[in-house]
């Protein structure tokens, strides 16, 4: 029973990996950006756990800028993915323009809240 589960896990991992290699490059770039943003957010949470939450507004501002831009990047990925039936008629340029504008608003708000 145990042996089969480990074999299943390893098979799962291999199928995921081979499927992922097949994704287009632009989606992989977006994935990399999302990982970078989430990683930055995790560093900030670890720092806050260490020193305490004294300038809480700065902490929120830093974490939310990372999470916010990650969320916007995920939205971009959904809209640009050609395999997605829902956004078949949406031009990828329009999706990218939305992404840029939303990020501008996000960073404006973040800098204001940073204090």
């Amino acid at each position: 029973m145990v042996k089969s589960t480990t074999k299943d896990a390893r098979d799962l991992f291999h199928t995921l990996r081979s499927a992922y290699v097949a994704t287009p490059t632009n989606l992989k770039i977006i994935d990399l950006y999302v990982c970078f943003a989430v990683f930055t957010a995790l560093i900030q949470v670890a720092y806050m756990a260490l020193v305490g939450s004294f300038p809480f507004n700065s902490f929120l501002s830093g974490v939310l800028s990372c999470i916010g831009t990650a969320v916007l990047a995920v939205c971009l990925r959904i809209q640009v993915n050609k395999e997605n039936k829902e956004f078949k008629n949406l031009a990828p340029e329009r999706a990218f323009a939305d992404f840029v504008l939303c990020n501008l608003v996000l960073h404006l708000v973040i800098i204001n809240f940073l204090g």
Partner: protein
Amino acid sequence: MMNLSRSVALISLFLLPLLSFSFSVDNPTDRRVLVLLDDLSLKSSHSIFFNNLKSRGFDLDFKLADDSKLALQRYGQYLFDGLIIFAPSTERLGGSLDSKSIADFVDSGRDLILSADTSASDLIRGIATECGVDFDEDSSAMVIDHTSFSVSDVDGDHTLIAADDLVKSDVILGKAKIEAPVLFRGVAHSLNPTNNLVFKVLSASPSAYSANPSSKLSSPPQLTGSAISLVSVMQARNNARVVISGSLQLFSDRSGVQKAGSQNQYEKSGNEQFVTELSKWVFHERGHLKAGSLVHHRVGETDEPAIYRIKDDLEFSVEIYEWSGKSWEPYVANDVQVQFYMMSPYVLKTLSADKKGLFHTSFKVPDVYGVFQFKVEYEKLGYTTLSLSKQIPVRPYRHNEYERFIPTAYPYYGACFTTMAGFFVFSFVYLYHK
């Protein structure tokens, strides 16, 4: 009507020169002293003490204690600055004097020397009780000491004792050590334990007790040992000084003392020096302090601000002078403290003295805002109490006095700008990748 006002004006003109000789804030030594005696022969038997006072510039006015023309006040002004009562057996004081008027006299800041003796009357005991001193209730009791008596005791009942247990205070007893013991024959008194203004200047040795010397003791004596005080002193809260002694012979002219059990024989007893120094202290020739105003300002400025901010650096100073009998000398001590007080002292610092009487220190205002007081409460044994305070408010930071960037938040600032840079780089890479 005109006559009355003119006579009042004339009388007040006559009183003016009297007023200029009295003690004042600038010249605190007493000048005019009323001496009440119950027997005018005390003038000669205590001549050394009185002549000493006269040579130091006091105006002594000798009166019998039951003289019907006695008055301490006239038209609301006190005629005397000091009072010496050497009338232990007087039941009633003459004129307008009674124990209440004497209590008012001390309440007005004036000084008193009171001496009881073996036949102390209720009046004298009452005045002493007002000052926190309780004489032995037995009117025939005297202080007896079988180990510290004077060898020159003629009666042989060991009531003339040679006492040397003096209070250790340079300001009360002078810098010179009193070598010879002090002769004492009289009644014992104890101090009221709830009174914290009165203290012993000359106490009896541990082997002394208070009893009737001519009758056998039927029960153990109530007052024994060092609880017996022979001479006590009280400094009231308004800095009036009172000396209460259990023996009139203490002040008299005497000489030659040898304490039983000791090898030393002194030609002169310590009485004269003891009594002289004590009278100097009682009449404010020594130990009288005056403080100038409290001065405080921020470091680097000279003006006194109306309000401080938390965590300001400030400097504080006060001038204290001591009266030397003729002039104000700078006071030098290392135990004057200042408190920065709001319900409890947030800062308590000892002031450092320079030789000119200026006490100063500097400290940081605490991180609490509110209305504070600079308080100097100085109570040293034998010195006048100094109680100074000055109020000053402390405000918190204004909104533009905080630090612009908080150091602990630097990682968050960095994260935000890194994210923005990452977004910028990402958009280029996304658009122009192959």
